[in-house]
């Protein structure tokens, strides 16, 4: 995406009504100072607008409700959303594999349960962003008790083949991350596009394009993203012709006890 394309999207982005995948835009802003300056200007302008609304008075008891909810969330070992709370994100990939095995996602992990280390190794080669992810999860800075992970399995659509699993990591301190593992896909369908969808219609994030599959029709992709992944609860995989191949929902699972590092 070039500067002209980015500039065209910035007003809606600033106003919070951007449509579609913002990841390319965010990526551009991460290195283009001129567009970033424009984005900040527009965001500052949009940020003021909220205060133009005619004030309304909330009920007095709302304060206690809010204070109680935040206080409870901050001291509770479980999140109110029911999403997994991982105390040591440094082991999050392994924790995800354990959780998925426990959920009976045989198609994915029966193949792969003995290959977890190999999967990670392959992914490092396939996707340089995974290397960054591993660095992040092993760094002390990443150890954050407020980190959330949402897991889900991917199932074939109609009479299609393949299956998969996906994991998103939402962190308050570092960039959010997503990992998707697929297997059993037909090579002739490549390249496949992996997309995260949010509840808001039209809000999506292209995670990766899978151009090459391993001998089992599988691939592992991982990506570190600058935007907040809160609310991105659905994963879809489409083939080269745009047909839906796999789909799955991420969400609440039983808590995962973190293995020792």
């Amino acid at each position: 995406m070039n500067c002209a394309g980015v500039r065209e999207l910035l007003p809606e982005h600033a106003l919070g009504v951007g449509n579609g995948d913002a990841s390319e835009l965010e990526q551009h802003l991460s290195w283009c100072a001129a567009c970033r300056r424009e984005a900040r200007e527009l965001e500052r302008a949009a940020g003021m607008l909220a205060f133009a609304l005619a004030p309304a008075d909330p009920a007095a008891e709302l304060q206690d409700r809010v204070v109680g909810a935040v206080g409870a969330a901050a001291t509770s070992p479980r999140r109110p959303t029911g999403l997994i709370r991982v105390r040591r994100a440094g082991v999050i990939l392994l924790a995800a594999a354990v959780a998925l095995a426990g959920l009976g996602t045989g198609a994915v992990l029966a193949h792969r349960s003995g290959r977890t280390a190999q999967i990670v190794s392959q992914a490092q080669q396939q996707n340089e962003e995974l290397a960054r992810f591993r660095q992040l999860i092993q760094s002390a800075a990443y150890v954050d008790p407020a980190t959330e992970a949402a897991l889900g399995t991917l199932d074939p659509v109609h009479d299609g083949t393949g299956s998969g699993s996906a994991l998103t990591i939402v962190s308050p301190t570092v960039d959010d991350q997503v990992i998707v593992i697929v297997t059993g896909l037909r090579p002739k369908g490549a390249p496949f596009t992996v997309t995260l969808l949010a509840a808001r219609p039209g809000r999506s994030l292209t995670v990766a394009r899978i151009r090459h599959l391993d001998s089992g029709g599988g691939a592992t992709v991982a990506r570190v993203v600058s935007q907040d992944l809160t609310g991105f609860g659905r994963v879809v995989v489409r083939d080269a012709r745009g047909r839906l191949v796999l789909t799955g929902t991420l969400g609440a699972e039983a808590p995962v006890s973190s293995p020792s590092p």
């Binding site: 007003p11 004030p55 009920a59 206080g71 308050p172 301190t173």
Partner: protein
């Protein structure tokens, strides 16, 4: 919460202090944040979503989200008020667009400021004053355009289709309106 937070506009150091308190679940910090920003957040919910119940739910969600994202807040990149209201706006628009069929409330952009505001509300009222002044720099058509996007969650494409005008025109007008808002505000900022 450690340290003292002034009653006027917050300094970056004080904003960071409040957010550290929020992250830790400190009761005083949460109450201080609510005292300053609870009302505008609730207002956003009520005006965009149209019911007290939805506004209360949104307010609670905004502060929970702020707690979850507290460590991401960087006072050097922008004011705490803007950051919180961006969270509120995103959550409200998400809900607005999800709840199809819900009648959209009538928006009141300009109203009388209530008498005798509390000390904690003064900074927010100053921001309201700035916002109204900035909006006053827009033409009626630009105000309507901003209202339809920011306050009603309509995309440029939806507006273009509804009004039968080119998408590019809507985008250009949106940018122009935002730049005007920003410039009007800049003129008020101390150099």
């Amino acid at each position: 919460m450690q340290g003292h937070v002034n009653e006027g506009p917050l300094l970056p150091r004080e904003e960071r202090q409040l957010m550290e308190g929020l992250l830790a679940g400190d009761d005083a910090a949460i109450r201080a944040l609510y005292a300053r920003f609870g009302r505008p957040v609730y207002t956003m919910g009520l005006r965009l979503l149209g019911s007290r119940e939805a506004a209360e739910e949104l307010t609670q969600d905004v502060f929970l989200t702020a707690w979850r994202k507290a460590a991401r807040f960087d006072p050097l990149r922008g004011r705490l008020s803007t950051w919180l209201m961006t969270i509120a706006h995103n959550l409200a628009v998400d809900r607005l667009r999800r709840d199809t069929g819900v009648s959209r409330p009538h928006l009141v952009l300009v109203d009388e400021v209530p008498d005798a505001p509390g000390i904690d509300e003064e900074a927010v009222l100053m921001e309201r004053d700035e916002a109204l002044r900035a909006l006053a720099s827009l033409s009626d058509a630009e105000k309507r355009l901003i209202a339809r996007t920011y306050f009603r969650g309509m995309t440029a494409r939806e507006i273009a289709e509804a009004d039968g005008i080119p998408l590019g025109t809507v985008k250009t007008r949106l940018r122009s309106a935002l730049i005007k808002v920003r410039r009007a505000n800049e003129e008020k900022e101390p150099s």
